[in-house]
Symmetry: C2
Subunit: 453 residues, 2 copies
């Protein structure tokens, strides 16, 4: 288990690639297996297909499994499928169960089936059990490789059992205690275990009211919990409190990264997690949203079109269009961002809908009045026309209020109705607020027309 600095890496990598070039299996294995699995995977991803196939023939399924566990999620599927099926199945059997499930979930059903049939039964069964669980639930990120002891064991027996289980277990630092029907009754940390006297009975040592998550729980809440309670692992139970698996902190770090990227992508209206290697991929990634927004923009245009008469009379009105639309968009995005994070951290659920709506309403009023009045003043000084400033200021005031409330309400309502809030992405809210602001602006302008001309 070793890691290198970037400057140590490159020479070693080339050395290993040379070993592959001259098909020197011994030198390859010496150097390659000496590295940390993450570095192994990094090097592996640099190799071409012929080199990769050499690696498959040089490494045992168990050795290859370490590499696989660290390969980029988007690519690992292709790697598995290019192996010969028997080898692939053996590798998958050696990969940590939860990772194996992640990989198989991205392959097409019949491939999965064939791998599972070739695979040795025990491993296959473990994987099948996990394949049922919905994505992003506790079940989908838990592993079944954990250590359990029973209440009546003493510390000495528990330690002996632990030593046997350690090699296969995902973590041995929390040991879970179950009763005869495999119900979770306690937990004890290895720390307490090694300090304890050998003769002590587990039941007396274990903590009996333990933190557990149920198999259907959402992964984001679980991440929240792990961060709050500083655990290294969490047990996963069914509704009858049977111990089904454990979730380890390393998987939770991946979940946190994933969730952060999701929120960020929604706000930006682009999948920031997608590896954009070519400009074609980049364009494919960004165009869909832009097309939608283009049509929303055209809709906005058609609305302004209805006010052409107003525009013809006071072309000056157009000057402030971007200002009003822009500020409405920004305010909406701010409110949206605060709401999305508030929901993610559970802060909003605590406060309750009505309280939040009231606050956003008042916030909108404060923001609206502040900006609206300043705009009025500035335009009066700048243009000398009292009424143009009044119309613009009033429009800003109203749009900011509407934008704040809608920006907060949209994600809240979607969360409430369990709709995927992806549609409430930043650009979407922005564009909606563009439309609203334009209607308000020209509506008011038309209303006060006689004062403007």
């Amino acid at each position: 288990m070793e890691k290198l600095d970037q400057d140590e890496k490159e020479p070693l990598y080339t050395e290993i690639e040379e070993a592959l070039a001259i098909e020197d299996i011994h030198r390859f294995r010496d150097e390659f297996l000496d590295m940390h699995p993450y570095d192994q995977s990094e090097l592996f991803e640099e190799l071409n297909e012929t080199e990769r196939h050499l690696v498959y023939s040089y490494l045992s399924p168990e050795e290859m499994a370490d590499v696989i566990e660290h390969i980029d999620k988007d690519r690992v599927g292709d790697v598995i499928t290019e192996m010969n099926p028997t080898y692939a199945a053996e590798v998958l059997a050696e990969v940590a169960t939860d990772d194996a499930v992640d990989i198989l979930n991205d392959l097409d059903k019949d491939k999965v089936a064939s791998y599972l049939t070739i695979m040795e039964e025990e491993a296959a069964d473990e994987i099948k059990d996990l394949l049922h669980y919905e994505e992003k639930t506790a079940g989908s990120i838990m592993t079944t490789e954990f250590v359990v002891v029973t209440t009546e064991m003493n510390v000495k027996q528990a330690m002996r059992h632990l030593r046997q289980e350690a090699p296969d277990a995902e973590t041995i630092y929390y040991i879970y205690v179950v009763d005869q029907d495999r119900k979770l009754v306690g937990v004890i940390s290895l720390r307490d275990l090694i300090i304890a006297d050998g003769a002590e009975i587990i039941e007396d040592l274990m903590s009996d009211r333990i933190v557990s998550v149920s198999v259907g729980d959402d992964q984001e809440q679980i991440a929240q919990m792990m961060r709050d309670y500083d655990f290294l692992a969490l047990p996963v139970v069914d509704f009858q409190h049977h111990l089904l698996g454990i979730i380890t902190v390393d998987d939770i770090m991946d979940v946190m990264e994933e969730e952060a990227n999701d929120d960020y992508s929604k706000l930006a209206g682009v999948d920031v997690d997608a590896a954009e290697l070519t400009s074609i991929q980049a364009a494919k990634n960004r165009l869909p949203w832009l097309i939608i927004l283009m049509f929303l923009g055209l809709f906005t245009a058609s609305i302004i079109g209805r006010f052409e008469a107003t525009l013809d009379q006071v072309a000056l009105l157009a000057i402030f269009l971007p200002l009003i639309a822009g500020m409405a968009g920004n305010t909406g995005t701010q409110a949206l961002a605060v709401a999305v994070r508030g929901i993610a951290t559970g802060e909003f659920q605590k406060q309750g809908l009505s309280k939040i709506v009231m606050r956003e309403l008042t916030t909108g009023v404060i923001i609206g009045v502040t900006c609206g009045l300043s705009i009025w003043g500035i335009i009066y000084i700048w243009q000398g026309t009292l009424f143009l400033g009044f119309v613009v200021g009033l429009s800003i005031m109203t749009t900011l209020l509407v934008a704040t409330v809608s920006g907060a309400l949209v994600p809240l309502l979607m969360h409430y109705f369990k709709v995927d809030p992806a549609v409430a992405s930043g650009p979407f809210i922005t564009t909606i607020n563009d439309i609203i602001s334009v209607v308000i602006y020209f509506g008011l302008a038309t209303m006060f027309m006689q004062f403007l001309i």
Copy 2:
């Protein structure tokens, strides 16, 4: 160490608050100390000042330290300062060193000094050492409570040493091996240690090329590293490879949350991490950006003002202002988001500036041409005027290209020049792109005026 479900919590909390009300110290201690520190802190934060002072008199500094470690970062400072200084100092001495440093960093200098003088020397020295380090560096998040063994120890001796150290150490699951001048020479996991034979020598068991970070490293890179290598702790060394401290995964989870919030806040132009309890706080949090953007928006307005002649002749032009500005803004935000994440994950550094610029350029062309041509077609069909569509389409094409490149370049250049990329927040980029798009649009319109009227 126990945690409760939400529905169990409330009754227990009220029970404890009753115990406080009737000043029943025994019932309070029984119930309160029976909970997980996180739940203790959650309850504590619900208490009023009189109740809190009762708690200080009921709990030993050591017991209070557990509560403090889990209290919201924004509030913990006030809690410490309301305690009587001696008690506060004793509590801070018991808190994990890295957390104590976080707390003290938020207090004003002379308070810190007085606490450190009251505090028992050893703890005070440990804290002083950490106070020097810059925020967001390895030094500021590391703890000095770790277990070291020496190369010549055998497993039996190491385990004995471990049992003594365990109670104070932040983690005992990685044991670090140092030579006589405290230089880090190896690491061994408790897992390997308990499997090993008692007579084996540490030097033969330990892995000798280990992952370490240097004390000045950025916390975001360290988080990245921990996630990649799935470590539970990382050793922190100085330039001579002396072991200074360790960073544990629970602190890294907080770092990840913090960094995710930062990026998200920048994109939204609002601090989403700020607890917005009143609408005044919310407005204070959101107004600064809006004011800046208001003036940028007025600047945009003044630019359009210069084209008043053009507007007077073809008021129809105004119709497409929000469309063009909006799309420019969205494209810029997309490019910005991809760049910011690319920098954060180190993906961009790997690819190199020129490669990225080239890609963004081509991406901009693809996006621009696609949207520009469709707009042209649509407007032609809709309005029947070939040239208006041409001007709008050409403007879209150019602005999208500019927006894409600028959106990617701005954060890259700021990263390159080590400027805080906070200024490149989403709304800022959006507004800049508003201005650019307006200039291009009206510039082209004025150029082709004779065809438009």
